[in-house]
């Protein structure tokens, strides 16, 4: 085998013009496909990146008054499409006042339910009891940062005392995450506020007048869920609406549009690659086959000297593999140049992966493997021809 590989390589290098031609044929097909694939990745990643930069893209929110229970939430959280879900209290009681402990100013803010795993508060790993997250605008107006101690207080017309809830600021969200003054806390905190508005006694918070809390039947107006990924958003919205017979709001149409664009771009690329691969296969099959026909006497000579046909069949395969490796190296080199030129031409910085034209290491490995398999397959006809070359040719057909 070692001898056969050595002979194949020596022959390949001696016929370097043919090697150059085959490498040029490979690069001529692979480079445009790589650039197309890279552009498809870059544009798609840019669109997806824009969507995914806003966690609310994955959000499904109920609208109107509904009745959800803790059991509904447990069920919802058990669905594989769900990344995070929380109950919502009545929107009527969404407003609270917030001030820093010891501070003088207060700000009115919307309070929204959150919790551990909520993508809206990422990268905060957990939201514990007594902790809140503030929007950037609210934190700035209060002059507080993460770690500050704040108080949430609210007042109802029929209640002589305010409800005062102490909290620690676990994090301040980046400005682009949520606009306006928003404080996010655990659903238990919001439920407490709702109970306060519903005139229940909250002795733990110094409010003894009111209906006994034990008589309260905790129901929630809505739910807010986050899909695990963009592909899950549409199906999850449908499932929630079917399961609970409600209407919901989500950016499903926009997400579906981008995903559809990605699929269509992928399909267009696959069609282009398919047509190109057919042409390349024809060129390589006949090219390798022609090489074996041209070298028939030399191959017959190897058989005459005692190399078995199975080993001789590897002669064109080894050459094809080396040609493919050189072709891949040249192709990726030219792709790199083309991608750099495209970046400079369009002055992009569109995606996290780098820019307009991107191919990941894994994708590059997969492409290289596919090309090697493809070229090897194209060399099989030549391998069969080499294997069937009659060693007696040397005696029978004197040149």
């Amino acid at each position: 085998m070692k001898l056969l590989v050595e002979l194949s390589l020596r022959d390949l290098l001696r016929d370097w013009v043919y090697l150059l031609c085959n490498v040029a044929v490979l690069a001529g097909v692979i480079v445009p496909l790589l650039v197309l694939f890279g552009v498809r990745n870059g544009v798609y990643d840019a669109l997806l990146g824009r969507l995914l930069s806003d966690p609310a893209t994955l959000q499904i929110d109920t609208s109107g008054n509904n009745a959800f229970t803790e059991a509904d939430l447990v069920e919802l959280r058990g669905w594989p499409e769900v990344q995070f879900a929380t109950l919502k209290t009545r929107s009527l009681f969404d407003y609270v006042n917030v001030r820093e402990v010891g501070g003088r100013g207060k700000q009115e803010a919307i309070i929204a339910p959150s919790g551990t795993g909520d993508p809206m508060i990422a990268p905060l790993p957990a939201l514990n009891a007594g902790e809140v997250v503030l929007s950037a605008a609210l934190a700035q107006q209060l002059g507080v940062a993460a770690g500050a101690e704040v108080q949430l207080f609210t007042q109802a017309p029929e209640r002589p005392r305010q409800l005062m809830l102490p909290a620690r600021v676990a994090a301040v969200l980046p400005p682009e995450r949520i606009t306006g003054r928003v404080v996010m806390g655990d659903i238990a905190m919001l439920d407490l506020i709702e109970a306060f508005y519903d005139e229940y006694a909250l002795p733990d918070h110094g409010i003894t007048a009111g209906k006994p809390l034990a008589s309260r039947n905790a129901t929630f107006e809505g739910i807010r869920a986050y899909a695990r990924d963009l592909e899950s958003l549409g199906p999850l919205q449908d499932r929630i609406e079917r399961r609970f017979a409600i209407a919901t709001q989500a950016d499903t149409a926009e997400v579906a549009s981008v995903l559809g664009l990605g699929r269509n771009l992928g399909l267009a690329l696959a069609l282009t690659a398919g047509v190109a691969a057919t042409g390349l296969a024809a060129a390589l099959v006949f090219g390798f086959w022609g090489e074996v026909a041209r070298k028939r006497r030399m191959i017959a000579n190897l058989g005459l000297l005692g190399l078995p046909p199975r080993l001789i069949s590897l002669f064109p395969v080894v050459q094809a593999l080396v040609t493919a490796l050189i072709g891949l190296a040249v192709s990726f080199g030219l792709y790199h140049l083309a991608a750099g030129a495209a970046e400079r031409l369009f002055d992009t910085g569109l995606t996290d992966r780098g820019g307009l034209v991107t191919i990941s290491g894994t994708e590059a490995m997969a492409i290289a493997l596919a090309v090697l398999v493809f070229v090897t397959a194209a060399a099989l006809v030549a391998a069969r021809s080499a294997m069937r070359t009659d060693p007696a040719t040397i005696l029978r057909e004197q040149s």
Partner: protein, 257 residues
């Protein structure tokens, strides 16, 4: 002495449509180191005979035995009858035979030394000393690092001869080895072939049209000739011993005076 080749009643038939050609070898025994020449008009199957001997074509009927270097005798004809036997043929051919074709038997991407060494590498019989001895014996020293395209036809034939002998085969098959050479070079090449074969103890079978050249060497001669056949659509050629000009191994290596 046990013959290196022992053939009895071997035949092969080629057909093309209704027409057929049969080659018959009633008997052929080649002793170690013997020189044998096949002659005959065109169309009598000289190349076919060499293909049969060189394990390049399956025989139809008959017995074809060969003695290996360790003294063991193997039935070469039987090898063609089984899949396992056929798989053994290429490496056995490499070890048992050396070939000197008329032209074009060298690999263009190897230099002279590499081409000569190739038969040793394929048959796993490395012997650098023998390569150097053959290069010296055949006058290839000055061109040992050149590739075949830089050699004259005569030099290429000498490289072919060296390669055919380098792995110490039992038997060299030379098919019209001097046909492309001028008479002076032809005689020299033939003398070198026989001389080098003598030194390695290798039997040589040569096919040639050049009766004058063959007459100048001590050889066991056979002639192929057409014989009558009962089937009008079939041509039969038969190998028959010719009155020997001389007999080996007692003869000298060089051209006859």
């Amino acid at each position: 002495m046990q013959p290196v080749i022992d053939i009895d009643g071997l035949s092969v038939t080629l057909t093309s449509g209704a027409r057929g050609f049969t080659l018959e070898i009633p008997a052929l025994r080649v002793a170690p180191g013997e020189r044998v020449a096949f002659t005959g008009p065109s169309g009598t199957g000289k190349t076919l005979l060499l293909e049969l001997l060189g394990l390049l074509r399956a025989p139809g009927a008959g017995r074809y035995l060969a003695a290996l270097r360790d003294g063991a005798q193997t039935d070469l004809g039987a090898l063609w009858k089984t899949r396992r036997g056929r798989a053994q043929i290429p490496p056995l051919r490499g070890r048992l035979f050396g070939f000197v074709p008329q032209t074009g038997g060298l690999l263009p991407f190897l230099d002279v030394r590499g081409n000569i060494a190739l038969s040793q590498r394929i048959s796993a019989r490395p012997d650098a000393e023998l390569i150097e001895a053959l290069i010296g014996r055949l006058g290839l020293g000055p061109v040992a690092r050149l590739h075949p395209d830089r050699l004259s036809i005569g030099q290429r034939q000498r490289v072919s001869i060296a390669r055919a002998l380098a792995h110490r085969p039992r038997f060299v098959i030379a098919d019209e080895p001097t046909a492309a050479l001028d008479p002076e070079n032809a005689a020299e090449a033939m003398a070198l072939l026989f001389g080098a074969a003598d030194e390695t103890g290798t039997a040589v079978v040569v096919s040639s049209h050049d009766l004058e050249l063959l007459d100048s060497f001590a050889l066991t001669r056979y002639r192929l000739g057409l014989i009558p056949d009962t089937d009008p659509d079939r041509v039969t050629s038969q190998l028959a011993p010719l009155e020997a000009s001389a007999s080996r191994p007692a003869a000298t290596a060089g051209p006859a005076p």
